[in-house]
Symmetry: C2
Subunit: 322 residues, 2 copies
């Protein structure tokens, strides 16, 4: 790692935590996991052009590179603690690194996450973050526990980030969206809010959980496959933000909500008897959720219209090598 | 992650370990750190062109991407356990991924490391591995413990990997090196052997330790800075392999040994009273070490000739953005 860059990042992101014995600056970090807990480890990479537009602000890239990882921790029901950052840059751009670290640190501080180590290398702009959190033994939320009869929910709203990706490039010419709506959608793309508090509520009750990163249908498909069940999703039930409703008509909106991806909401399944208490606890945690379908015997995911007929979909979500 | 690729990697690398509660295939891995130990976490990135030549075999890239991380764990005195893999590829090249996984798995099996999660993305060939190991509380080997009067050692030999990078491009025309010597040097570049066993010996005795990745002078410079001491290195003492001796004359050899980098040996400091027992225990662990200098009051690193005069060096080692 180039030493000036290390210092820039360390100065901004090395939050003090008592469980960090040795942080940035040696060959590795030395960490003290809490006794009697399991460790949850996740990693996700962002590549310029592929995962964010070229003109994205460095602060937003920093935020998002941590957010997509914290979203995975949220989906496991974990309490976040530490992160590692591998930053590949075309040149030792001090301004970029400072602004990147600022966005990263802003989200890290919100969730008490300490950056404990990393690597900077020269190459095409690519960011890999690994993040770590804790769960009580056996309490991690998995994809594999959904059972026929369970209900399906999603936190927040869907489709905003994918819509944000279209502004200002296409949207201004296609729709009557206000500048304010465009900004709101773009903010969902650039600064996703990992649903950590919701994951903590869900880990005691949900039968399965996943974060919606590749697109709703693709992601609930992972749950269906891992659980050995089918999932029916009701198109009319899918939650939409006011900005999305203003900016896009129904057919395009449905495509964005079901296959757009980058939502970083949690989709989860629940035995019907838990619905009341979970929605209550989620609301208390500041996170709404909407019932969007049910788990059925069988396999695969079906998107249903108001009459219960299946809606054909061309693509299921984000495919990295499509 | 693209599902076929995940399966290819999982089939080869998901070593069974009792402390892996949930491995590849959910939003995150669920791991059970051993009670009463500290966790050591490291991460390193390899970028094509920058960290390995374009024609490097996929098996060797897989091996090396893990090796450079295990080398960091070795330098901390940690026992390796788990790894995460973030693989960015220009295209979903099945053959590349199979061969990459084969090399990765070969080294992982040698050290009992389970691949527990990862991400595959589309983009310029870049590999980030994070690796995790354990140390007894307070036993991690740091860079900061060297004291004036300590002796300085290095495991194995220096300069081979940097020499290997020159073959077959330049070497064949410059030197009388045999094909066998070229192969030996190239193997040190492509398949470094992380000094895990040496790290375990050293963690009870060494005052400071670092892995030699950027070049000897640069890396012992990190130790000097972190410890607040100076370090004198004796040029004549630096260990060279038979292949290096055959392929390069003295001046070029010295440059390769002191600034070439990519050695993945351990440089460490030791109170003189421990020299005998440590060299004995290292030999028992199958790893030779050579005394190459001493820690002195002051600051910085000096490379000394047989008369104790300082040898001027132009560059100190690998600088990522030089």
């Amino acid at each position: 790692m180039e030493f000036d860059l290390i210092e820039l990042v360390r100065a901004r992101c090395a939050l003090a935590r008592a469980d960090v014995r040795v942080g940035i600056g040696d060959d590795g970090a030395v960490l003290a996991p809490p006794a009697g807990h399991e460790l949850v480890a996740v990693t996700d990479t962002l590549v310029e052009h592929v995962h964010f537009p070229v003109a994205t602000r460095p602060e937003d890239i920093g935020w998002k590179s941590l957010a997509v990882n914290l979203s995975d921790l949220a989906a496991m029901g974990a309490t976040p603690a530490w992160a590692l950052l591998a930053l590949t840059l075309p040149a030792p751009d001090r301004d970029f690194v400072e602004r990147f670290a600022e966005g990263f640190a802003e989200l890290a501080a919100q969730h008490g996450v300490a950056l404990v180590g990393g690597d900077t290398t020269k190459g095409p702009l690519t960011i890999t973050v690994s993040a770590f959190g804790f769960v009580p033994p056996g309490k991690a939320l998995l994809r594999s526990g959904a059972r026929a009869g369970d209900l399906v929910f999603v936190t927040g709203t869907l489709g905003d980030a994918a819509a944000g990706l279209r502004f200002p490039f296409e949207g201004l010419f296609q729709s009557p969206a206000s500048a304010e709506a465009c900004d709101a959608l773009r903010a969902r793309l650039d600064r996703p809010s990992p649903r950590i508090a919701a994951g903590l509520v869900l880990r005691d009750r949900a039968s399965a959980c996943i974060d919606v990163s590749d697109g709703l249908l693709a992601d609930v498909g992972h749950v269906a496959r891992a659980s050995g069940v089918g999932i029916d999703i009701s198109a009319l039930a899918l939650p939409a933000s006011p900005a999305l409703l203003q900016a896009f008509g129904a057919p395009e909106r449905l495509a964005l909500q079901t296959t757009g991806g980058d939502d970083y909401e949690l989709a989860f399944t629940l035995a019907p008897k838990h619905e009341g208490i979970v929605l209550h606890d989620l609301a208390k945690a500041g996170c709404g959720a909407t019932r969007i379908g049910r788990v059925v015997a069988g396999a695969g995911v079906r998107l249903l219209d108001a009459q219960g007929g299946e809606i054909a979909t061309k693509r299921r979500g984000w495919e990295h090598f499509a």
